[in-house]
Amino acid sequence: MKPVVDGLETQYGDRIEFKVYAEADKDAAASEFAEDKDVRYVPTMMLVSPEGREMNRWVGEQAEPSLSAAFDAALQQ
């Protein structure tokens, strides 16, 4: 999944801020943050608006087109 995220960051990095916790299960701080955000499985991904509203949440492996479609929709809002 990480390569897909890297590809998306290359494509959308100038318009969307990427916060990647690639070792969420090993990093104590990241683990605590994930627990606070109700992350129960990895990989879990969220797209949050600039105001802090969660717009999308994906659990499990996702295809790149479904993520990029959500990115495009968020950028048009």
């Binding site: 969420a24 955000k37 969660e54």
Partner: protein
């Protein structure tokens, strides 16, 4: 010698249908000796309609064994078996303890065969049918239908479970979680969070 009339015939028929047997003393208006002769006459008159016997002076229906097998007459024609009484028709029916107990109609099929359709649905039912059809065709068909029923019921249950779970799955495929708060973006851009592994 008393006269055998239509009224006598009707009286004996009515007694026979109500009681299942007629003794001479049951016939009103006649001495028992005369009534015995009337019963004998009744048997002769109705010999081609119903199977009757006089046993120890009592008129009753003939037993089923005595009428089951038609026998050829002297002219080589098969005689029509006399009509059985309703009671004898029921007594003579093949029957078992239950609908699934068809032992009288065929051989005994092992109860273990029911595990096949119950475990493997239609496939198990067909296998059980193939095994049992030589022994008891009726039970073999029941085994196959049991397999079909198990397949249908489990299929409906599977679809129902899938529909019950699918809203949760769809919620995990892009729908936001409720009750989770996020900090506002410092850069003014949407933020994408990834929690996972490096692979």
């Amino acid at each position: 010698m008393v006269e055998y009339t239509q009224a006598v015939d009707a009286q004996i028929s009515r007694l026979l249908s109500l009681k299942g047997r007629v003794t001479p003393d049951m016939i009103a208006g006649f001495d028992p000796a005369d009534a015995a002769g009337l019963l004998q006459r009744y048997v002769e008159v109705h010999a081609h309609e119903v199977a009757l016997v006089i046993d120890d002076g009592t008129l009753t229906w003939a037993s089923i064994e005595s009428v089951q097998s038609p026998t050829p007459n002297t002219y080589g024609q098969v005689q029509v078996a006399p009509t059985l009484s309703p009671v004898d028709q029921v007594v003579g029916m093949e029957r078992g303890a239950s609908l699934l107990d068809t032992k009288p109609a065929g051989g005994k099929v092992s109860g273990w065969l029911w595990l096949l359709p119950l475990s493997f649905g239609v496939i198990g039912g067909v296998i059980a049918w193939a095994i049992a059809k030589g022994t008891n065709r009726q039970v073999a068909l029941a085994l196959m239908w049991a397999g079909v029923a198990v397949t249908i019921v489990s299929g409906v249950a599977f679809v129902g479970m899938g529909r019950a779970i699918s809203p949760q799955l769809s919620a995990q495929m892009g729908a936001p979680a409720a009750g989770v708060t996020w900090p506002a973006s410092e850069t003014g851009k949407p933020v994408f969070y990834y929690f996972g592994t490096s692979t």
